[in-house]
């Protein structure tokens, strides 16, 4: 039923190279509303680079991006945000010397009637959303450089979900989180999915991926091995895709799949 609708996002034949390194090589992937697509692969497989092309952090060398069937121009992070694409980066990308509220609203500050920053209102909103995400969070006045890794991650997540994204990119969103907070992010993903938001979830935790994703896409050495519905494949089969690049019968092979001899 999902397949009939127009995809929310289509990345077609994306290529990205740094000097001689083909970080992303002819990768195509799509995402439907209300769908979670897990992207997995070994370290350096090109997952982060691929999603950074979509989020506008990197400019692709070749390929097309379609949003709801129409070709999109994404040349910088501002363009991507205008399409409702929000990103939690693996490196977190928070501004170290300002506090949580300033980070949450960075680039989209609330203003008073005088046109000045409304710090108090921003702090109030931040307290609300952090209360949902990470109830133990207390340090609203501290520059985020002084926060723990998990607290910083909570700030990054809060920033991505606060502004009603249509497309959410999460690059290792729970890498630094404790078990309780990880569970909360899982809940959050299900909730956002129910709201019709499309999510790309990058994770090394294969259990999490199977738990949360509708489909899984496997990358190896910058190329797409294949995609599969999580209900059609086993974890071992996906591990085989990641390590050997072997595509099981239930998966749709990509250009990076090893053809059986």
């Amino acid at each position: 039923m999902l397949e009939k609708a127009t995809p929310l996002v289509e990345l077609q034949h994306i290529k990205l190279a740094f000097g001689g390194i083909h970080a992303v090589d002819d990768v195509s992937i799509d995402l439907y509303p209300g769908e979670v697509v897990g992207i997995v692969g070994h370290n350096g497989a090109g997952k982060s680079c691929l999603i950074k092309v979509l989020s506008g952090a990197y400019q692709r060398d070749e390929g097309k991006i379609l949003i709801e069937g129409k070709e999109a121009t994404i040349n910088n992070p501002r363009d991507a945000k205008a399409y409702g694409i929000e990103t939690i980066y693996q490196t977190l990308a928070v501004a170290d010397n300002v506090d949580a509220a300033a980070n949450l609203f960075l680039g989209r500050e609330l203003k008073t009637g005088w046109g000045t920053l409304d710090d108090v209102a921003m702090e109030a909103e931040t307290r609300k959303i952090m209360g949902r995400l990470n109830p133990n969070f207390e340090r609203f006045k501290t520059p985020v450089v002084a926060l723990s890794g998990g607290q910083r991650q909570s700030v990054a997540i809060a920033r991505a979900i606060y502004f009603n994204a249509r497309i959410l990119i999460m690059d290792e969103p729970t890498a630094a989180l404790g078990p309780q907070e990880t569970q909360q992010v899982g809940e959050l993903i299900r909730q956002l999915k129910a709201d019709g938001i499309g999510i790309f979830l990058i994770s090394h935790d294969i259990h999490d991926v199977f738990d949360l994703s509708d489909r899984v896409a496997v990358m190896k050495n910058g190329r797409m091995v294949g995609t599969a519905r999580t209900e059609d494949v086993t974890k071992d089969e996906v591990l085989g895709m990641i390590i050997l690049g072997k595509c099981p019968p239930a998966a749709v092979p990509g250009p990076g799949a090893i053809v059986d001899a």
């Binding site: 989020s55 952090a57 910088n76 992070p77 501002r78 945000k81 990103t87 980066y89 977190l92 990308a93 928070v94 501004a95 170290d96 010397n97 300002v98 300033a102 980070n103 960075l106 680039g107 989209r108 500050e109 203003k111 046109g115 000045t116 920053l117 108090v120 209102a121 702090e123 109030a124 207390e138 609203f140 520059p143 450089v145 002084a146 920033r159």
Partner: protein, 444 residues
């Protein structure tokens, strides 16, 4: 349900609600916690007080006098104005080595405008003269700053190199404007921007300014409190608010009292009395200087720059970029545009300082502003602006400028030779930054 209660009781971290009442340690710590005063800033004020008292004692009691403090305030203005802009530049991990040279060329442009070019169109002594000269200086400053900014942000040449080039090029350009000839005198109204006997606003106006500032302080404290109550955030205790208000107002009134205690030279006062048919009383006529015009300009610039850096989006982006430029870019901030704006502001502030300097000398010379870049950078850094980016305040930079100028004037007063003065200032700069590094390590 009792477990969390136990946990909170033994929790050593003060929660935000009882943060004020928590500290059992000494009254000073409690005072600082309750008032949320910046300890770093207090440290600077203490250092300044030390410098003043020291010079007062060693100079045989001529440092802390209305006359010297008034002159000190005038001498500080030009550096302080530029230091407020340097804060934004260093906060974004850039540097501007060209401010002294830019000041020089802008001073020349404004001087030539009012002494040679504009009189052809509007006649000498026109009330428009100072306005047009200053406006042209500001526009030229903005253009120079924007040029630096564009080269840095869009062509990706490091700020150090761009402004090093600017340091040489604009000093040369300052010479070129008149091929080295000094231009004098300045327009009478323009000259008021430099201070001097007539370049001060007098006693009554000074008290009005003081009253206005006090009103703003009280209003600021009140509205801040109201705003926090609206969102049910923790409030400072009332006694702390009152103490803050009283201290700030007292400092304002004291400063104005000093400015109003510095009288006009008796001969100037006598001439003034004669011209205005005022009888000279027994023991001479007392006419107070009041706040000097350049000091008023400097305070206005400082308030404006504080507002820009703390209360506007642009200011927020400056500090966000300083902490992590890549993150700011990923958050959707147009970091290149912000960079261009920062350097444009710096250029305009050079124009303001250029006007003050030119007016004070009552002449435009191509050497004006020589070495200023060093003092401006030093003022910002002594005032707590970090070269690691993301940290710095306008108020700190103004205080830093005052500290630097106090050292210089104090040594002049004591008859220290210029080479020794430079050695001392150089050492103080390095020691101040070292102390600041220690402070920051402990604060973490």
């Amino acid at each position: 349900m009792s477990a969390p209660n136990i946990a909170t009781k033994s929790d050593p971290v003060p929660s935000s609600q009882n943060r004020a009442s928590h500290a059992q340690s000494g009254p000073i710590r409690r005072f600082l916690n309750a008032t949320e005063l910046d300890t770093r800033m207090l440290g600077m004020i203490a250092a300044l007080a030390l410098v003043w008292v020291g010079f007062h004692i060693f100079s045989g009691g001529v440092f802390i006098t209305p006359r010297n403090l008034w002159n000190l305030s005038v001498q500080t203005s030009s550096t302080a104005v530029m230091a407020t802009g340097m804060v934004l530049i260093i906060v974004t991990r850039n540097i501007d080595l060209s401010v002294g040279s830019v000041l020089g060329v802008l001073g020349m442009i404004m001087g030539v405008m009012q002494a040679e070019i504009l009189p052809q169109f509007i006649g000498f002594g026109s009330p428009l003269m100072w306005i047009l000269s200053l406006a042209i200086g500001l526009a030229a400053g903005a253009a120079i700053g924007a040029l630096h900014g564009v080269i840095i942000a869009y062509l990706r040449v490091p700020a150090f190199i761009v402004t090093l080039g600017g340091y040489l090029a604009w000093r040369g350009a300052a010479w070129w404007v008149t091929t080295g000839r000094t231009v004098a005198p300045m327009d009478q109204a323009f000259a008021l921007m430099g201070g001097g006997t007539y370049g001060a606003i007098g006693s009554t106006a000074s008290w009005v300014v003081a009253a206005f500032v006090c009103a703003v302080i009280v209003w600021g404290l009140y509205s801040g409190r109201k705003q926090r109550r609206r969102f049910n955030f923790p409030l400072r205790p009332i006694w702390a608010e009152v103490t803050l208000g009283v201290l700030a107002c007292a400092a304002t009134l004291a400063a104005v009292w000093v400015a109003n205690s510095y009288e006009w030279p008796s001969r100037v006062a006598a001439r003034y009395a004669q011209a205005n048919n005022i009888p000279i009383p027994e023991g001479g006529l007392f006419i107070a200087h009041g706040i000097a015009v350049p000091v008023l300009i400097m305070l206005g610039v400082a308030v404006l720059m504080t507002f820009i850096s703390m209360r506007t989006r642009f200011g927020r982006y400056v500090f966000a970029m300083g902490g992590n430029p890549e993150a700011a870019e990923l958050a959707g901030i147009n970091t290149r545009r912000v960079t261009v704006m920062i350097f444009t502001i710096m250029g305009m502030l050079c124009a303001v300082s250029g006007a003050i300097t030119t007016a004070r000398l009552n002449a435009a010379t191509n050497a004006a502003g020589t070495y200023d870049e060093m003092f401006v950078i030093a003022a910002a850094v002594i005032g707590g602006t970090s070269f690691n980016g993301g940290v710095g305040t306008v108020a700190g930079a103004v205080l830093g400028a005052l500290v630097m100028q106090s050292l210089k004037s104090g040594m002049v007063l004591m008859g220290v030779d210029t080479p020794l003065q430079n050695i001392v200032v150089g050492i103080v700069l390095v020691v101040a930054v070292w102390l600041d590094t220690l402070y920051r390590q402990r604060a973490k």
